[in-house]
Symmetry: C2
Subunit: 244 residues, 2 copies
Protein backbone atom coordinates (compact mmCIF):
# COMPACT_ATOMS: atom_id res chain seq x y z
CA UNK A 1 0.00 0.00 0.00
CA UNK A 2 1.19 3.48 -0.91
CA UNK A 3 0.77 6.26 1.68
CA UNK A 4 0.83 10.02 1.11
CA UNK A 5 1.55 12.36 3.98
CA UNK A 6 1.74 16.11 4.58
CA UNK A 7 4.43 17.20 7.01
CA UNK A 8 5.32 20.25 9.05
CA UNK A 9 8.85 20.61 10.41
CA UNK A 10 11.21 23.05 12.03
CA UNK A 11 14.42 22.53 10.07
CA UNK A 12 16.64 24.36 12.57
CA UNK A 13 18.40 21.32 13.97
CA UNK A 14 18.42 19.10 10.88
CA UNK A 15 20.83 18.63 8.03
CA UNK A 16 17.98 19.04 5.61
CA UNK A 17 15.45 16.58 4.25
CA UNK A 18 17.62 14.04 2.51
CA UNK A 19 19.22 11.07 4.23
CA UNK A 20 22.99 11.01 3.93
CA UNK A 21 24.20 7.73 5.35
CA UNK A 22 23.28 6.84 8.91
CA UNK A 23 25.19 9.45 10.81
CA UNK A 24 23.44 12.66 9.77
CA UNK A 25 20.35 14.04 11.43
CA UNK A 26 17.82 14.45 8.59
CA UNK A 27 14.03 14.58 8.34
CA UNK A 28 13.87 11.66 5.94
CA UNK A 29 16.17 9.63 8.19
CA UNK A 30 14.00 10.28 11.28
CA UNK A 31 10.82 9.26 9.43
CA UNK A 32 12.28 6.05 7.99
CA UNK A 33 13.79 5.09 11.33
CA UNK A 34 10.43 5.55 13.07
CA UNK A 35 8.46 3.68 10.38
CA UNK A 36 10.88 0.79 10.74
CA UNK A 37 10.21 0.73 14.49
CA UNK A 38 6.43 1.00 14.13
CA UNK A 39 5.90 -1.42 11.26
CA UNK A 40 9.02 -3.57 11.18
CA UNK A 41 9.34 -2.72 7.48
CA UNK A 42 12.23 -1.01 5.70
CA UNK A 43 10.63 1.69 3.60
CA UNK A 44 11.87 4.70 1.70
CA UNK A 45 10.12 7.97 2.45
CA UNK A 46 10.21 9.96 -0.80
CA UNK A 47 9.82 13.72 -0.39
CA UNK A 48 8.43 16.10 -3.02
CA UNK A 49 11.86 17.67 -2.98
CA UNK A 50 14.83 18.14 -0.70
CA UNK A 51 14.86 21.02 1.70
CA UNK A 52 18.31 22.33 2.71
CA UNK A 53 19.72 22.30 6.21
CA UNK A 54 17.85 24.87 8.30
CA UNK A 55 14.91 25.23 5.88
CA UNK A 56 11.43 24.65 7.34
CA UNK A 57 8.23 23.13 5.97
CA UNK A 58 4.58 23.91 6.59
CA UNK A 59 3.37 21.50 3.92
CA UNK A 60 6.05 19.11 2.66
CA UNK A 61 4.53 16.09 0.91
CA UNK A 62 6.08 12.63 1.02
CA UNK A 63 5.04 9.09 0.20
CA UNK A 64 6.10 5.61 1.28
CA UNK A 65 5.00 2.02 0.71
CA UNK A 66 4.19 -0.67 3.27
CA UNK A 67 3.68 -4.36 2.52
CA UNK A 68 1.23 -4.75 5.35
CA UNK A 69 -1.85 -2.47 5.47
CA UNK A 70 -1.98 0.02 8.34
CA UNK A 71 -5.02 2.11 9.19
CA UNK A 72 -3.90 5.67 8.20
CA UNK A 73 -5.52 7.54 11.11
CA UNK A 74 -3.93 5.13 13.61
CA UNK A 75 -0.53 5.26 11.96
CA UNK A 76 -0.64 9.07 11.92
CA UNK A 77 -1.37 9.20 15.65
CA UNK A 78 1.33 6.70 16.42
CA UNK A 79 3.88 8.58 14.32
CA UNK A 80 3.08 11.88 16.04
CA UNK A 81 3.40 10.21 19.43
CA UNK A 82 6.99 9.13 18.75
CA UNK A 83 8.33 11.75 16.34
CA UNK A 84 10.58 14.47 17.77
CA UNK A 85 8.65 17.63 18.70
CA UNK A 86 9.98 19.49 15.66
CA UNK A 87 8.43 17.12 13.08
CA UNK A 88 4.68 16.66 12.80
CA UNK A 89 2.53 14.60 10.39
CA UNK A 90 -0.45 16.83 9.52
CA UNK A 91 -2.22 14.40 7.23
CA UNK A 92 -1.77 10.75 6.24
CA UNK A 93 -3.84 8.97 3.60
CA UNK A 94 -3.59 5.97 1.33
CA UNK A 95 -2.69 6.91 -2.25
CA UNK A 96 -2.90 5.19 -5.60
CA UNK A 97 -0.03 2.80 -6.32
CA UNK A 98 1.27 5.15 -9.00
CA UNK A 99 1.48 8.24 -6.79
CA UNK A 100 4.99 9.67 -6.36
CA UNK A 101 5.42 12.84 -4.30
CA UNK A 102 8.26 14.22 -6.42
CA UNK A 103 7.49 13.00 -9.92
CA UNK A 104 3.80 13.94 -9.76
CA UNK A 105 4.24 17.39 -8.19
CA UNK A 106 2.80 20.09 -10.48
CA UNK A 107 3.44 23.22 -8.46
CA UNK A 108 5.32 24.10 -5.32
CA UNK A 109 5.04 27.23 -3.23
CA UNK A 110 7.73 28.54 -0.92
CA UNK A 111 7.58 31.55 1.34
CA UNK A 112 10.62 33.49 2.55
CA UNK A 113 10.08 35.71 5.59
CA UNK A 114 12.11 38.79 6.43
CA UNK A 115 11.89 40.70 9.71
CA UNK A 116 12.23 44.40 8.83
CA UNK A 117 12.17 45.74 12.39
CA UNK A 118 15.21 47.47 13.80
CA UNK A 119 14.76 45.18 16.80
CA UNK A 120 13.80 41.83 15.27
CA UNK A 121 11.64 39.63 17.51
CA UNK A 122 13.65 37.12 19.55
CA UNK A 123 10.85 34.56 19.09
CA UNK A 124 11.19 34.48 15.30
CA UNK A 125 14.98 34.62 15.10
CA UNK A 126 15.10 31.09 13.68
CA UNK A 127 12.18 31.64 11.28
CA UNK A 128 12.82 35.05 9.70
CA UNK A 129 15.84 36.76 8.21
CA UNK A 130 16.57 39.90 10.23
CA UNK A 131 17.07 42.69 7.71
CA UNK A 132 16.87 46.13 9.29
CA UNK A 133 18.23 48.27 6.44
CA UNK A 134 16.10 50.23 3.94
CA UNK A 135 14.45 48.27 1.11
CA UNK A 136 12.63 49.63 -1.91
CA UNK A 137 9.86 47.04 -2.11
CA UNK A 138 8.34 48.45 -5.31
CA UNK A 139 11.69 48.03 -7.00
CA UNK A 140 11.87 44.42 -5.78
CA UNK A 141 8.41 43.73 -7.23
CA UNK A 142 9.42 45.21 -10.55
CA UNK A 143 12.59 43.06 -10.64
CA UNK A 144 10.63 39.96 -9.62
CA UNK A 145 8.30 40.37 -12.60
CA UNK A 146 11.10 39.45 -15.05
CA UNK A 147 11.32 36.04 -13.41
CA UNK A 148 7.71 35.09 -14.20
CA UNK A 149 7.18 32.49 -16.89
CA UNK A 150 9.50 29.89 -18.37
CA UNK A 151 13.23 30.67 -18.38
CA UNK A 152 16.59 29.02 -18.09
CA UNK A 153 17.39 29.60 -14.41
CA UNK A 154 21.01 28.45 -14.64
CA UNK A 155 22.18 31.69 -12.97
CA UNK A 156 19.93 30.86 -10.03
CA UNK A 157 21.25 27.33 -9.51
CA UNK A 158 23.95 26.50 -6.94
CA UNK A 159 24.94 23.31 -8.72
CA UNK A 160 27.48 24.42 -11.31
CA UNK A 161 27.80 20.95 -12.80
CA UNK A 162 24.05 20.52 -13.29
CA UNK A 163 23.69 18.25 -16.32
CA UNK A 164 19.92 18.18 -16.53
CA UNK A 165 17.78 21.02 -17.81
CA UNK A 166 17.83 24.21 -15.79
CA UNK A 167 14.63 25.47 -17.43
CA UNK A 168 11.80 26.05 -14.97
CA UNK A 169 8.53 27.96 -14.93
CA UNK A 170 7.66 30.44 -12.19
CA UNK A 171 3.91 30.97 -12.00
CA UNK A 172 3.77 33.66 -9.35
CA UNK A 173 5.91 35.83 -7.10
CA UNK A 174 3.99 37.78 -4.47
CA UNK A 175 5.71 40.20 -2.12
CA UNK A 176 3.61 41.12 0.90
CA UNK A 177 4.27 43.54 3.73
CA UNK A 178 2.50 42.98 7.01
CA UNK A 179 3.67 45.25 9.80
CA UNK A 180 7.39 44.51 10.12
CA UNK A 181 7.38 41.27 8.13
CA UNK A 182 8.09 41.09 4.43
CA UNK A 183 6.99 37.78 2.90
CA UNK A 184 8.06 36.64 -0.56
CA UNK A 185 5.84 33.86 -1.95
CA UNK A 186 7.20 31.99 -4.97
CA UNK A 187 5.20 29.38 -6.89
CA UNK A 188 6.72 27.33 -9.71
CA UNK A 189 6.66 23.95 -11.40
CA UNK A 190 9.98 23.03 -9.80
CA UNK A 191 13.06 24.58 -8.27
CA UNK A 192 16.80 24.10 -8.76
CA UNK A 193 19.28 23.74 -5.93
CA UNK A 194 19.15 26.96 -3.81
CA UNK A 195 16.99 28.60 -6.49
CA UNK A 196 14.51 30.26 -4.10
CA UNK A 197 17.29 31.47 -1.82
CA UNK A 198 19.30 32.92 -4.73
CA UNK A 199 16.17 34.68 -6.06
CA UNK A 200 15.51 36.16 -2.60
CA UNK A 201 19.16 37.17 -2.16
CA UNK A 202 19.13 38.88 -5.57
CA UNK A 203 15.85 40.69 -4.85
CA UNK A 204 17.29 41.94 -1.55
CA UNK A 205 20.29 43.37 -3.37
CA UNK A 206 17.92 45.11 -5.77
CA UNK A 207 15.77 46.39 -2.88
CA UNK A 208 18.76 47.78 -0.99
CA UNK A 209 20.04 49.57 -4.09
CA UNK A 210 23.24 47.50 -4.38
CA UNK A 211 22.07 46.29 -7.78
CA UNK A 212 19.77 47.82 -10.43
CA UNK A 213 16.38 46.18 -11.04
CA UNK A 214 17.56 45.29 -14.55
CA UNK A 215 20.20 42.94 -13.13
CA UNK A 216 17.58 40.22 -12.78
CA UNK A 217 16.90 40.16 -16.50
CA UNK A 218 20.66 40.26 -17.15
CA UNK A 219 21.22 37.34 -14.79
CA UNK A 220 18.59 35.30 -16.67
CA UNK A 221 20.25 36.13 -19.98
CA UNK A 222 23.79 35.34 -18.90
CA UNK A 223 23.18 31.81 -17.56
CA UNK A 224 26.01 32.26 -15.08
CA UNK A 225 25.68 31.92 -11.30
CA UNK A 226 28.02 34.89 -10.82
CA UNK A 227 25.49 37.17 -12.53
CA UNK A 228 22.86 36.65 -9.82
CA UNK A 229 23.01 37.82 -6.19
CA UNK A 230 23.94 36.11 -2.96
CA UNK A 231 22.18 33.06 -1.54
CA UNK A 232 19.86 34.20 1.27
CA UNK A 233 20.30 32.23 4.52
CA UNK A 234 18.12 29.13 4.98
CA UNK A 235 16.23 30.00 8.17
CA UNK A 236 13.75 32.40 6.53
CA UNK A 237 12.57 29.78 4.05
CA UNK A 238 9.47 27.57 4.33
CA UNK A 239 8.13 25.00 1.87
CA UNK A 240 4.49 26.06 2.06
CA UNK A 241 2.60 23.63 -0.18
CA UNK A 242 2.91 21.14 -3.01
CA UNK A 243 0.12 20.74 -5.56
CA UNK A 244 -0.64 17.66 -7.66
Amino acid sequence: MNYKMILEYDGTSYNGWQKQGNTERTIQGKLEELLKKLTGEDTEVAGSGRTDAGVHALGQVANFRLKEYREPEELLEEMNRYLPQDIRVLELKTASERFHSRLNALRKTYVYRIDRGDKPSVFYRKYRLAYGGPLDVERMKEAADCLLGTHDFKSFCANKRMRKSTVRCIHEIRIEEQQEVLSIYITGNGFLHHMVRIIVGTLLEVGSGEKPAACVQEALDQCDRAAAGQTAPPHGLFLLKVEY
Copy 2:
Protein backbone atom coordinates in the same frame (compact mmCIF):
# COMPACT_ATOMS: atom_id res chain seq x y z
CA MET B 1 22.73 57.91 36.25
CA ASN B 2 19.80 55.51 36.55
CA TYR B 3 18.66 53.72 33.36
CA LYS B 4 15.32 52.01 32.74
CA MET B 5 15.01 49.40 30.01
CA ILE B 6 12.30 47.23 28.48
CA LEU B 7 13.42 43.74 27.48
CA GLU B 8 12.18 40.90 25.32
CA TYR B 9 13.62 37.43 25.82
CA ASP B 10 13.13 33.81 24.91
CA GLY B 11 13.58 32.05 28.24
CA THR B 12 13.98 28.56 26.73
CA SER B 13 17.68 28.18 27.35
CA TYR B 14 18.00 30.19 30.57
CA ASN B 15 17.74 29.32 34.23
CA GLY B 16 15.36 32.21 34.67
CA TRP B 17 15.95 35.89 35.29
CA GLN B 18 17.83 35.89 38.55
CA LYS B 19 21.58 35.51 38.84
CA GLN B 20 22.64 32.53 40.94
CA GLY B 21 26.39 32.70 41.38
CA ASN B 22 28.57 32.81 38.28
CA THR B 23 27.95 29.38 36.84
CA GLU B 24 24.28 29.59 35.89
CA ARG B 25 23.00 30.94 32.60
CA THR B 26 20.53 33.67 33.56
CA ILE B 27 19.12 36.76 31.87
CA GLN B 28 20.30 39.06 34.64
CA GLY B 29 23.75 37.48 34.54
CA LYS B 30 24.06 37.99 30.76
CA LEU B 31 23.04 41.65 31.04
CA GLU B 32 25.39 42.46 33.91
CA GLU B 33 28.28 40.68 32.20
CA LEU B 34 27.73 42.66 29.01
CA LEU B 35 27.34 46.00 30.80
CA LYS B 36 30.63 45.33 32.57
CA LYS B 37 32.30 44.77 29.18
CA LEU B 38 30.74 47.82 27.56
CA THR B 39 31.15 50.32 30.39
CA GLY B 40 33.84 48.83 32.62
CA GLU B 41 31.44 49.30 35.55
CA ASP B 42 30.06 46.65 37.89
CA THR B 43 26.34 47.28 38.01
CA GLU B 44 23.33 45.39 39.27
CA VAL B 45 20.48 45.00 36.79
CA ALA B 46 17.31 44.96 38.90
CA GLY B 47 14.30 43.32 37.23
CA SER B 48 10.65 44.10 37.97
CA GLY B 49 10.44 40.51 39.15
CA ARG B 50 12.07 37.16 38.57
CA THR B 51 10.89 34.99 35.76
CA ASP B 52 11.35 31.23 36.22
CA ALA B 53 13.52 29.00 34.05
CA GLY B 54 11.85 28.65 30.65
CA VAL B 55 9.48 31.62 31.09
CA HIS B 56 9.61 34.30 28.36
CA ALA B 57 9.22 38.07 28.37
CA LEU B 58 7.76 40.49 25.86
CA GLY B 59 8.07 43.47 28.19
CA GLN B 60 10.23 42.84 31.24
CA VAL B 61 11.38 46.09 32.85
CA ALA B 62 14.74 46.48 34.57
CA ASN B 63 16.92 49.31 35.82
CA PHE B 64 20.61 49.79 36.49
CA ARG B 65 22.94 52.59 37.52
CA LEU B 66 26.13 53.80 35.86
CA LYS B 67 28.63 56.25 37.35
CA GLU B 68 29.59 57.58 33.96
CA TYR B 69 26.86 58.94 31.65
CA ARG B 70 26.18 56.97 28.48
CA GLU B 71 23.94 58.17 25.68
CA PRO B 72 20.88 55.81 25.95
CA GLU B 73 20.29 55.32 22.20
CA GLU B 74 23.96 54.44 21.67
CA LEU B 75 24.09 52.10 24.65
CA LEU B 76 20.91 50.34 23.46
CA GLU B 77 22.40 49.72 20.02
CA GLU B 78 25.65 48.51 21.47
CA MET B 79 23.86 46.15 23.85
CA ASN B 80 21.75 44.67 21.06
CA ARG B 81 24.86 44.18 18.94
CA TYR B 82 26.51 41.98 21.58
CA LEU B 83 23.60 40.35 23.41
CA PRO B 84 22.75 36.74 22.51
CA GLN B 85 20.03 36.52 19.86
CA ASP B 86 17.44 35.44 22.42
CA ILE B 87 17.65 38.65 24.49
CA ARG B 88 16.75 42.03 23.04
CA VAL B 89 16.60 45.52 24.58
CA LEU B 90 13.46 47.14 23.16
CA GLU B 91 13.78 50.48 24.92
CA LEU B 92 16.42 52.20 27.04
CA LYS B 93 15.97 55.58 28.74
CA THR B 94 17.39 57.52 31.61
CA ALA B 95 15.15 57.44 34.69
CA SER B 96 14.86 59.49 37.85
CA GLU B 97 17.35 58.54 40.57
CA ARG B 98 14.52 57.13 42.70
CA PHE B 99 13.12 54.77 40.04
CA HIS B 100 13.25 51.07 40.97
CA SER B 101 11.78 48.54 38.53
CA ARG B 102 10.49 46.19 41.23
CA LEU B 103 9.55 48.50 44.08
CA ASN B 104 7.73 51.01 41.86
CA ALA B 105 5.80 48.48 39.75
CA LEU B 106 2.05 49.07 40.10
CA ARG B 107 0.64 46.40 37.80
CA LYS B 108 2.04 43.46 35.90
CA THR B 109 0.40 41.52 33.10
CA TYR B 110 1.27 37.97 32.14
CA VAL B 111 -0.13 35.92 29.29
CA TYR B 112 -0.21 32.12 29.20
CA ARG B 113 -0.72 30.54 25.77
CA ILE B 114 -2.21 27.11 25.14
CA ASP B 115 -2.23 25.36 21.76
CA ARG B 116 -5.59 23.55 21.53
CA GLY B 117 -4.96 21.84 18.17
CA ASP B 118 -4.76 18.08 17.96
CA LYS B 119 -1.55 18.67 15.97
CA PRO B 120 0.15 21.55 17.79
CA SER B 121 2.37 23.72 15.59
CA VAL B 122 6.05 22.67 15.67
CA PHE B 123 7.04 26.33 15.45
CA TYR B 124 5.36 27.26 18.74
CA ARG B 125 6.29 24.14 20.70
CA LYS B 126 8.53 26.19 23.00
CA TYR B 127 6.03 29.04 23.38
CA ARG B 128 2.66 27.36 23.94
CA LEU B 129 1.45 24.52 26.12
CA ALA B 130 0.10 21.76 23.87
CA TYR B 131 -3.25 20.75 25.33
CA GLY B 132 -5.38 18.79 22.90
CA GLY B 133 -8.08 17.48 25.25
CA PRO B 134 -11.54 19.05 25.64
CA LEU B 135 -11.84 22.22 27.75
CA ASP B 136 -14.98 23.99 28.93
CA VAL B 137 -13.79 27.56 28.52
CA GLU B 138 -16.98 29.12 29.97
CA ARG B 139 -16.41 27.10 33.13
CA MET B 140 -12.82 28.33 33.30
CA LYS B 141 -14.01 31.94 33.00
CA GLU B 142 -16.52 31.43 35.78
CA ALA B 143 -13.85 29.90 38.04
CA ALA B 144 -11.40 32.69 37.19
CA ASP B 145 -13.90 35.32 38.35
CA CYS B 146 -13.48 34.24 42.01
CA LEU B 147 -9.83 35.22 41.82
CA LEU B 148 -10.53 38.87 40.99
CA GLY B 149 -9.88 41.41 43.72
CA THR B 150 -7.76 41.23 46.86
CA HIS B 151 -7.27 37.81 48.45
CA ASP B 152 -4.75 35.76 50.35
CA PHE B 153 -3.20 33.70 47.55
CA LYS B 154 -1.26 31.36 49.88
CA SER B 155 -2.75 28.32 48.09
CA PHE B 156 -1.32 29.66 44.83
CA CYS B 157 2.23 30.14 46.12
CA ALA B 158 4.97 27.56 45.59
CA ASN B 159 7.03 28.84 48.50
CA LYS B 160 5.64 27.02 51.53
CA ARG B 161 7.87 28.90 53.94
CA MET B 162 6.82 32.33 52.64
CA ARG B 163 7.11 34.66 55.63
CA LYS B 164 5.90 37.85 53.98
CA SER B 165 2.29 38.61 53.14
CA THR B 166 0.67 36.39 50.52
CA VAL B 167 -2.13 38.91 49.94
CA ARG B 168 -2.26 40.19 46.36
CA CYS B 169 -4.81 41.91 44.15
CA ILE B 170 -5.77 40.56 40.72
CA HIS B 171 -7.27 43.31 38.58
CA GLU B 172 -8.23 41.31 35.53
CA ILE B 173 -8.25 37.79 34.07
CA ARG B 174 -9.15 37.61 30.40
CA ILE B 175 -9.48 34.30 28.58
CA GLU B 176 -9.41 34.65 24.80
CA GLU B 177 -9.80 32.05 22.07
CA GLN B 178 -8.28 32.76 18.68
CA GLN B 179 -8.42 29.85 16.29
CA GLU B 180 -6.53 27.07 18.07
CA VAL B 181 -4.85 29.26 20.68
CA LEU B 182 -6.28 29.90 24.12
CA SER B 183 -4.65 32.88 25.84
CA ILE B 184 -5.07 33.62 29.53
CA TYR B 185 -4.15 37.22 30.43
CA ILE B 186 -3.67 37.96 34.13
CA THR B 187 -3.08 41.46 35.52
CA GLY B 188 -2.31 42.08 39.17
CA ASN B 189 -0.39 44.29 41.56
CA GLY B 190 2.16 41.55 42.16
CA PHE B 191 2.57 37.80 41.94
CA LEU B 192 3.87 35.13 44.32
CA HIS B 193 6.30 32.39 43.32
CA HIS B 194 4.65 30.28 40.55
CA MET B 195 1.33 32.07 41.18
CA VAL B 196 0.39 32.55 37.52
CA ARG B 197 1.36 28.98 36.63
CA ILE B 198 -0.63 27.53 39.57
CA ILE B 199 -3.68 29.64 38.59
CA VAL B 200 -3.40 28.41 34.98
CA GLY B 201 -2.91 24.79 36.10
CA THR B 202 -5.96 25.03 38.36
CA LEU B 203 -8.11 26.61 35.62
CA LEU B 204 -7.08 23.81 33.24
CA GLU B 205 -8.23 21.21 35.78
CA VAL B 206 -11.54 23.05 36.04
CA GLY B 207 -11.84 23.28 32.26
CA SER B 208 -11.15 19.59 31.74
CA GLY B 209 -13.72 18.62 34.38
CA GLU B 210 -11.18 17.10 36.78
CA LYS B 211 -12.19 19.70 39.37
CA PRO B 212 -15.44 21.65 39.95
CA ALA B 213 -15.41 25.40 39.29
CA ALA B 214 -16.05 25.95 43.01
CA CYS B 215 -12.61 24.51 43.83
CA VAL B 216 -11.01 27.87 43.08
CA GLN B 217 -12.99 29.62 45.85
CA GLU B 218 -12.24 26.69 48.16
CA ALA B 219 -8.54 26.92 47.38
CA LEU B 220 -8.59 30.63 48.26
CA ASP B 221 -10.38 29.89 51.54
CA GLN B 222 -8.12 27.05 52.63
CA CYS B 223 -4.76 28.85 52.31
CA ASP B 224 -3.06 25.57 51.52
CA ARG B 225 -1.05 24.84 48.38
CA ALA B 226 -2.54 21.32 48.24
CA ALA B 227 -6.02 22.81 47.70
CA ALA B 228 -5.06 24.38 44.33
CA GLY B 229 -4.22 22.59 41.09
CA GLN B 230 -0.96 21.66 39.43
CA THR B 231 1.69 24.14 38.31
CA ALA B 232 1.42 24.63 34.53
CA PRO B 233 4.73 24.21 32.68
CA PRO B 234 6.85 27.36 32.20
CA HIS B 235 7.10 27.51 28.40
CA GLY B 236 3.57 28.86 27.79
CA LEU B 237 4.16 31.87 30.05
CA PHE B 238 5.16 35.40 28.98
CA LEU B 239 5.65 38.50 31.11
CA LEU B 240 3.77 40.92 28.86
CA LYS B 241 4.09 44.32 30.50
CA VAL B 242 4.85 46.16 33.71
CA GLU B 243 3.08 49.41 34.55
CA TYR B 244 4.35 52.18 36.85
